[in-house]
């Protein structure tokens, strides 16, 4: 009997595995979600690895080696729909901090024999090299958003992922604003929602792990934080985090560079 379930593949480039782990962390929904597809390629979860083509491909991690570039191109050829999951795949991830440094120096710091290491000068988002059908934000992704995206594509629909700021969600939760009430620097006003505004709910400022919202006014926020007495260096560090190489955060961090 021919298996008509859509074939799902999960790929990994340079990353911590946390975003693909979000699938396995959806304990209550896992068997239903994975039961609706044929897991054709998901090495973290299964030793059964079938060749492409695949109906849906999820790709985690940033492009950091020449091999990653080739791999990304092959993955694009193999997948009908390709979705990047997480800050590494959509913005270069935390490892993009190398992009402002000399990677040769970095290699020397970490490795005794730098000549054994093959790496690119930069850590880049997947979409810099190939066409991507949908980018899901987050470091890590929100597992419910991830399920929504998979289910949407299984049903030939466009995912309904909101792109407004963390502040909207924070207000809906009834949180007291940590910036207004306590003077705590917070990237919430320029960061895309999706995390559940957890940092302000835990009495700390948002550190931007979901990356920039649609049309963020980063310079206004930066000036506001500066007026509260933060140093230029601290502002640079705040924008240069898990989504450092997303364009709005990258540009703002460069304004405050030493």
């Amino acid at each position: 009997m021919k298996n008509k379930k859509p074939k799902l593949a999960v790929f990994k480039l340079s990353s911590c595995d946390g975003c693909q782990l979000s699938i396995l962390d959806a304990e209550d929904e896992l068997l239903a979600v994975l039961g609706a597809v044929d897991i054709a390629y998901f090495p973290e979860a299964s030793s059964r690895m079938l060749p492409g083509p695949y109906d849906i491909g999820l790709i985690e991690g940033s492009v950091t080696t020449p091999h990653d570039v080739e791999l990304a191109r092959q993955i694009r050829k193999d997948c009908k729909v390709l979705i990047t999951i997480g800050a590494c795949a959509t913005a270069g991830g935390i490892q993009a901090l190398r992009n402002w440094k000399d990677v040769k120096e970095f290699t020397k710091i970490v490795y005794a024999h730098p000549q054994y290491i093959s790496t690119l000068d930069r850590s880049m988002p997947v979409a810099s090299f190939i066409h991507v059908d949908f980018e899901l934000r987050g470091c890590p992704v929100n597992k419910y958003q991830l399920i929504d995206v998979i289910v949407a594509y299984l049903n030939n629909k466009k995912p309904n992922i909101t792109s407004h700021s963390v502040c909207m969600e924070c207000k809906q939760k009834g949180n007291v604003c940590v910036m207004v009430a306590h003077g705590t620097p917070c990237l919430g006003p320029v960061t895309q929602t999706g995390c559940g505004s957890i940092c302000p709910s835990y009495d700390r400022g948002c550190y931007g792990c979901f990356g920039p919202m649609d049309s963020p006014n980063t310079s206004s926020l930066a000036r506001n934080i500066e007026a509260r007495g933060e140093t230029k260096y601290d502002i640079m560090l705040a924008f240069r985090g898990f989504n450092a190489y997303s364009e709005p955060f990258r540009k703002e961090s460069e304004v405050y560079e030493k």
């Binding site: 911590c16 782990l21 039961g35 979860a45 935390i94 710091i109 970490v110 490795y111 700390r204």
Partner: protein, 430 residues
């Protein structure tokens, strides 16, 4: 069977990217390489010039499976540098969040990554068709571990509430009530887990290992203790660098660790169990004794049973912590950074994780060294294979590959973190 080369280009059901290369010459194992081709991510390099307070958030990103371990080793090292260590309920809450990580990580590995090997399935979804109740129970147990991490840490992966000096916000007593209810169920599920693992069939394979783990005077170790081994090692965490060295080998992006005085060593659940059996709670000892498990285990395949026992311990310990919990007045102690170097270790589910930071007077990190458990176990994994293969050399290739992969998965290797170790004294070579 004379000469053959076995290559596993992509090891499945481990975290991160690794490959296996085994060369057999004249029926003897000529070469074994566990190749870690996960790209380097340079954490030690870009931690430089970052604020000490960012270390728990940044180092969490080394590993999505055990972010708590990275956060805890980081806070331990930085608090050691500043000479300011929180006690009381903050210390207890740190043990509690670690219990959550052990429960979710051990359950994930045990049922979803390792059990399929013993039962002959490619993955847990296929296994669920024949063992629906076992898998559903496993998923619930795993979720309860994640619920602890989420309640205290804010979310399961890369929690946001761990801070140098304590937490940003501590839970109310009532926030932990539901967890307690669930943990009573989880404790029974963990007992069933141990029983289930003890019915599996284990290859006859025992080695004379040097086991290393943190050892605390009165507790089963999470965050504190001296570093001890069954072969006489007994040092403080500050002495780690004098006793362990890392070597860079051509075929792997992860450095190989060994004891300076001897050679390879073995970290993780079996090491903790063998060195700290006395510190397990009565219920765990009772279950171990009912199943006639020895107090010392030398078969790495039986790590799956010990993961079950440690899951049971973590459920029991979590209940103890919740029962005595009183919300502290402050969520963290006031931290005053000074120019200093600090060392910290904690027991990740896969074994001891060591961090060291040098911090300047402004509180910026000058250099960092991070040694994950998998890099420390790498040499032992390779040696296991060298000793494991000879009596199985005539097996059909498919079967031999499967058994070798299973031997690697005994260690629950977490390869995405095994990529970024700072060798402090950089060798000068042309």
């Amino acid at each position: 069977m004379k000469n053959r080369t076995i290559k596993v280009d992509y090891l499945a059901r481990v975290e991160g990217e690794g490959a296996l290369y085994i060369k057999i010459k004249n029926g003897e194992v000529d070469d074994v390489k566990l190749k870690i081709f996960e790209p380097p991510r340079f954490f030690e390099a870009f931690l430089r010039d970052r604020k000490y307070s960012e270390a728990p958030d940044i180092t969490a990103r080394i590993c999505g499976i055990c972010p708590i371990a990275y956060q805890m080793s980081a806070v331990n090292a930085i608090e050691n540098a500043f000479g300011q260590v929180p006690g009381g309920q903050i210390r207890e809450l740190r043990r509690l969040i670690y219990c959550g990580e052990w429960i979710e990580s051990h359950t994930l590995h045990l049922y979803m990554l390792h059990a399929p090997d013993f039962l002959g399935y490619p993955d847990v979804v296929h296994m669920a068709k024949d063992f629906p109740e076992v898998v559903e129970k496993a998923l619930k147990l795993k979720r309860i571990g994640n619920d602890i991490v989420k309640t205290i840490g804010g979310r399961e992966i890369h929690p946001i509430n761990v801070k140098v000096g304590g937490f940003y916000k501590v839970p109310q007593k009532k926030d932990l009530k539901q967890l307690r209810e669930d943990l009573l169920w989880a404790r029974d599920a963990a007992i069933d887990t141990v029983k289930f693992t003890s019915t599996l069939t284990f290859p006859d394979f025992e080695q004379d290992y040097e086991f290393v783990s943190l050892c605390h005077d009165i507790e089963y170790p999470f965050n504190e203790g001296r570093i001890k081994s069954n072969k006489g090692l007994d040092i403080s965490v500050e002495e780690y660098d004098f006793n362990f060295i890392e070597e860079h080998v051509e075929y792997s992006h992860a450095l190989h660790s060994r004891l300076r005085a001897r050679d390879n060593y073995f970290l993780g659940p079996i090491a903790r169990y063998n060195l700290n059996y006395d510190k397990l709670s009565p219920i765990v000892k009772q279950v171990a004794s009912d199943l006639k498990l020895p107090r010392e285990i030398n078969n790495p395949f039986k790590s799956i049973i010990v993961r079950g026992l440690e899951t049971l311990y973590a459920c029991d310990e979590a209940i103890r912590i919740i029962d005595q919990y009183e919300k502290p007045d402050e969520p963290s102690i006031q931290i005053n950074p000074i120019e200093a170097t600090g060392n910290g270790a904690s027991e990740a589910p896969r074994g001891m994780l060591y961090h060291r930071y040098r911090i300047n007077e402004e509180g910026l990190i000058m250099d960092a060294k991070i040694v994950p458990p998998t890099s420390q176990n790498q040499k032992t994994i390779e040696k296991d294979l060298k000793h494991f293969i000879p009596s199985r050399v005539n097996l059909p290739e498919k079967e031999l590959v499967l058994q070798c992969e299973q031997a690697v998965r005994n260690y629950d290797p977490c390869i995405s973190c095994a990529t970024h170790f700072l060798k402090l004294h950089v060798e000068k070579e042309n």
